[in-house]
Structures are given as structure tokens and as C-alpha cells.
């Protein structure tokens, strides 16, 4: 489904602050895979998503999505096939517009001059009620009035309304309180299963990195240093992971956030 071949990206080339954020990355994600990604700050996890989405063009290498070469495709041209969530719940929705208008934009059926039909409204209601947050009764409310958790759940719904070929989740629960984060994680699982989505999820929570999905990769300094799935992965514990990291990277995986599983 998604294939990266020898992708490299250096920011600020030629200056003292030049930083190789992606270093010859190759990755093949099969259809239906749910890959969790871990790594310390600055490992290149978000840059990886940026490269897939087209925030910037990579320096070399190729990116294929469902067989199509998207390496040099403009961001908005590939966005149709990619769903993406950020850590910041404010980023994925338009606060000054109503829930219904946000969904209508995400649903994006019909031509530019089409308006929301009754049938679409009913579909929005139904999908919103599945979130279990009571949003279906607030469709005329402005999104800016919602809580972070509600906004993130809505963003998730918008990103998967027309199931994308791949869903990228960039620590999408990190800014939420623990209880809300659990709810959003549950919704995420439901949506991915229901639509049998191919999904990549960056997380700082090592526990959920092992519990969710069917494959885990670990990144460090722009490289994928560890990639596990199947039998081997099912026996791994959080402490195994941290040990593995220090073995391969030659230093301790030192972020409190990761160890505490926050």
C-alpha cells in the first residue's frame, strides 16, 4: 500500500544547523497494516509523515502510495488519499464553522457548487452518534466551542469519512487528558477496524505502541532501527523495547514521557 524507497531529507542544507531528519529510509507497509511508530524526540517520526503527505519534497528516494508514485505530487493532490491527524486538536477542524459544515467539507461529495443534502445530514448524524460524545445533537454549533477530545474525535471522523488509502496519526492523543485519550484511542481502533484502514500511528506511549496494531517500528536519528511484527512482537514488553533501543542506538532511550507512558 505504502512504499518508501531510500528516502532522505535534510533541513537547512549547507548551513551550520543542517539536520538529516530522514536518513535513507525504506519502508513497506502492506494493505491493512496498523503500524505503531516510537522513537525519542527528533527521531524523524513527524518528518516521515511530512514526507508522505507532501509538506515538503524529499531530497532523494521515492514514495509510492497504492502503486502510484507520489514523490513529487503537490500536497493537496495526494491529500485525497491520506487522512492525517496532528497532536494539536485545533489543527484539524475549522473553529468558526459548525460541526455540520466541517463534516460537509470532509465528506466532499458532489461538485463545487453542491450543498449539503438531507441524506448527507442524516449520514453525519449517524456517524457522529457512533462517537458516543453527543455531538449529533450539536451539529449547528461552532467547532470552536468543543473540547479538545471532542475536536479530535471529530477530526478523526472527518479524516475517515471517505476512507483514505492510509491514515497517519501523529500523537493525536498526546494533548488530551488520560481519560479522553482512552476514549479517542478506542474510537481510533473502532474506525480502523471498521473501515479496515491501513494506518501509521506515532505514539509516545510504549504500552499502546505494543497493544495497538500489528507492527511496531522504532526510529532514531532519521533511521528505522527496529521493526517488529507477528510472533516476536506479541512477546515484547515495554522494558524489552527500551533495552532493544539502547542495544541498537548505543544510548538509553531517555524520555520520561515515554517511560512513564504519558
Amino acid at each position: 500500500m505504502l512504499r518508501l524507497e531510500n528516502v532522505t531529507k535534510t533541513f537547512n542544507i549547507g548551513s551550520a544547523s543542517a539536520k538529516k531528519a530522514l536518513d535513507d529510509i525504506s519502508l513497506h507497509v502492506r494493505k491493512g497494516d496498523f503500524v505503531t511508530i516510537i522513537g525519542s524526540n527528533g527521531a524523524g517520526k513527524s518528518t516521515l509523515f511530512g514526507a508522505i503527505c507532501g509538506d515538503f519534497f524529499t531530497d532523494c528516494g521515492s514514495i509510492f502510495l497504492d502503486g502510484e508514485d507520489i514523490t513529487m505530487l503537490e500536497e493537496y493532490r495526494r491529500a485525497h488519499n491520506i487522512g492525517r491527524l496532528f497532536q494539536d486538536p485545533m489543527r484539524g477542524t475549522a473553529p468558526g464553522m459548525t460541526i455540520e459544515e466541517n463534516l460537509a467539507l470532509a465528506a466532499g461529495r458532489g461538485g463545487w457548487l453542491s450543498t449539503v443534502t438531507k441524506a448527507e445530514k442524516a449520514a453525519f448524524r449517524e456517524k457522529l452518534s457512533l462517537l458516543g460524545m453527543g455531538l449529533e445533537d450539536m451539529m449547528e454549533q461552532q467547532v470552536g466551542l468543543l473540547s479538545g477530545g471532542q475536536r479530535q474525535a471529530l477530526t478523526l471522523l472527518m479524516a475517515t469519512f471517505n476512507p483514505p488509502k492510509i491514515l497517519l496519526l501523529d500523537e493525536h492523543t498526546a494533548a488530551l487528558d488520560p481519560a479522553t485519550a482512552d476514549t479517542v484511542i478506542k474510537i481510533t481502533n473502532d474506525m480502523v477496524t471498521e473501515n479496515s484502514l491501513t494506518c501509521l500511528m506515532v505514539t509516545h506511549n510504549m504500552q499502546s505502541a505494543l497493544e495497538m496494531g500489528n507492527r511496531t517500528i522504532m526510529m532514531d536519528r532519521g533511521k528505522i532501527i527496529f521493526d517488529t511484527c507477528g510472533e516476536e512482537r506479541s512477546h515484547l514488553t515495554v522494558s524489552d523495547l527500551t533495552e532493544r533501543f539502547s542495544d541498537i542506538a548505543g544510548r538509553a532511550l531517555a524520555t520520561d514521557r515515554m517511560l512513564l507512558g504519558l
Binding site: 503527505c53 500536497e75 493537496y76 493532490r77 491529500a79 485525497h80 492525517r84 485545533m90 489543527r91 484539524g92 477542524t93 475549522a94 473553529p95 468558526g96 464553522m97 459544515e101 466541517n102 460537509a104 467539507l105 470532509a106 466532499g108 458532489g110 461538485g111 463545487w112 457548487l113 453542491s114 450543498t115 449539503v116 461552532q142
Partner: protein, 311 residues
């Protein structure tokens, strides 16, 4: 007609004509979140093109011609900021400056055009309504027609998928950029439409006062912005059609207040200063309100210093 009524009618006519520019800003400033500094020049452009076409004997054609010219001006502003890496505000200023020469060129090298003998949409409506009870309102009817057209157009347009995408582009560009919507196209179409309304506004004003001059649009942006912000006070967070009507009301109220001020011997040249002050306060007051809790906290902190340790 009594002098008061005719005064109100004139205020209504002028207010509604400028409301077209206010509606243009409603689209570009309130919805798209772009402050289009080419507004003054575009208003004059509409006046010039409309007058030249009317003088050549096509009073009806003058209106769409002016709007088309406005669209071209909007297209230029949009291309500068989306395709040529020029800052949005700077693009407007550059186009505005360029339009000064363009406008004089359109008027054939002169800085003023006289429409006294030319047929305009208003002389046409006067002829048509000369035998009806509506003859006193022949100008007002044409203007109301134009304003209704724009309000209805905006209400319908902003509900479409394109309209939603346009509002989202102004509201959360991050979100739109990571969706499959091309913001360049949205901004371009948005500015073309808004500038066509600005030019329409200028064309109608020139036709009504039977002359166009190079300064007809100067200060229009601030006047329209003031009206827009007054309108927001009426219909702040309502639905789009209501907010559009609020913008029109704002334009009328601004005109009315100005007319009353003139009756109390405020000199005409004060208009621009008044509009500047209105814009300053309309933007400053909400800002000040948002700062109140901080100042309160500071005061509380300063007075509570002696009791530290109790909390």
C-alpha cells in the same frame, strides 16, 4: 418630499452603494481573512470603466464591464500573493498603486470624467419609472436590486462546497492545506468575486453622482471596514445571510451617522478621520476586553503581595 426624508433617502442610497464594497470585504476580510488593500483602486477602477462604457453609449453594459474589470484586478492581486511569493498585504498595495495609472489611462489621460449628458442605469430607470408612483425612488430601486443580488449570491455561494472551502481557508488554513483542497484556487476565485463587487460599487457611485474622478475610491477600504465592523456589532455570530445583511446595515448606519454629523456642521473632509477612528475602536475594544483578565490578575497580584504564603 420633506428635507429630512430626502436626507435619509440620500443616506440610504449612498449607504447601500458603499454596502457593496462592505459585502466585498465581508467575503475577503471576514470569510477569507485577507485584508485586500487594493480596494480603493479597484473601486475607482469600477467607476472609471463603468463611466467610460456608459459614455460610449452602453449604460447597461457598463455594470458587467466594471465588474469584469474588478475581477481582473482581483485576479492580479491573487496571482501576486499565491504564485509570485509576494506578501498578501503588499500585493494589495502594489495593485492599488498600479491601478492609479491604469485608471487615468482608462479615462483617456484625464483625472475626471463628466457623465452629465451620458445615459446611465439611473437615467434608464428614471425613464422607465417616470409615470409610476415609484419615480422618486428610481435610484434606490436600482441600488436595492444590486445589493439584493449580491446578498443573495453570497448567502447561496457560501453554503456550497466551494463556499465552505473558502470559509475554512480563512478560518484554519492548516486544515485546508492538509486536505485535498487547493487553497491557491480558492483564494483566486474569492478575490475575483470580492473585487467584482467593489468595482460594481464604484460604477454605481459614479453613475449616481454623474462623474468619476481618480480620487473617488480613496479611503473606501477604511470606510467599508468601519461599516463592516459596525455591522458585526448587530449580527455578530449569526448565520451567513444574517451577517451579510448586518454588513449592509452597518454601511447604512455609518452613512446615516455621517449625514447627521454633517447636519451638525461637521466638515465633509472629516469623513475619513471618522472612519479611521471607528475602525481603530472596533478592533481595539474586543482586544481590550480580552486583556481585562490579565490586568485584573496583575492588579490582584500586586495588591496580594503582602499576603504571600497564606495561599
Amino acid at each position: 418630499m420633506s428635507p429630512i426624508l430626502s436626507l435619509i433617502q440620500t443616506a440610504l442610497e449612498l449607504g447601500l452603494i458603499s454596502s457593496l464594497t462592505v459585502l466585498a470585504l465581508f467575503l475577503s476580510y471576514s470569510m477569507l481573512n485577507i485584508c485586500d488593500l487594493s480596494t480603493d483602486g479597484c473601486f475607482t477602477l469600477g467607476a472609471c470603466v463603468g463611466s467610460v462604457v456608459a459614455l460610449s453609449g452602453h449604460p447597461l453594459l457598463a455594470v458587467p464591464a466594471a465588474m469584469l474589470a474588478g475581477m481582473l484586478s482581483g485576479l492580479t492581486t491573487a496571482v501576486l500573493q499565491t504564485r509570485m511569493g509576494i506578501d498578501s498585504l503588499l500585493s494589495g498595495i502594489i495593485v492599488n498603486t498600479g491601478l492609479y495609472s491604469v485608471n487615468i489611462a482608462i479615462m483617456g489621460g484625464s483625472s475626471i470624467l463628466n457623465l452629465n449628458k451620458a445615459a446611465t442605469v439611473f437615467t434608464l430607470s428614471k425613464e422607465m419609472l417616470s409615470d409610476t408612483p415609484l419615480k422618486g425612488a428610481h435610484r434606490l430601486l436600482v441600488i436595492i436590486l444590486a445589493v439584493s443580488f449580491v446578498v443573495i449570491f453570497l448567502s447561496l455561494f457560501l453554503k456550497t462546497r466551494f463556499g465552505l472551502a473558502l470559509r475554512a481557508t480563512g478560518n484554519n488554513p492548516d486544515m485546508v492545506r492538509s486536505s485535498s483542497i487547493n487553497t491557491v484556487m480558492i483564494i483566486t476565485v474569492g478575490l475575483c468575486i470580492s473585487n467584482s463587487f467593489t468595482a460594481l460599487s464604484g460604477a454605481l457611485l459614479a453613475a449616481m453622482q454623474k462623474s468619476a474622478n481618480i480620487d473617488i475610491g480613496s479611503g473606501m477600504l477604511t470606510v467599508a471596514l468601519a461599516s463592516l465592523l459596525i455591522g458585526r456589532a448587530f449580527m455578530g455570530r449569526g448565520k451567513i445571510p444574517l451577517r451579510a445583511i448586518g454588513a449592509v446595515m452597518g454601511a447604512f448606519v455609518f452613512r446615516l451617522v455621517y449625514t447627521i454629523a454633517l447636519r451638525f456642521n461637521m466638515p465633509t473632509f472629516m469623513l475619513k478621520l471618522v472612519s479611521s477612528v471607528i475602525v481603530i475602536f472596533a478592533i481595539f475594544i474586543p482586544y481590550m476586553k480580552s486583556r481585562v483578565p490579565i490586568h485584573r490578575r496583575k492588579a490582584q497580584h500586586a495588591s496580594g503581595k503582602g499576603e504571600e504564603g497564606h495561599a
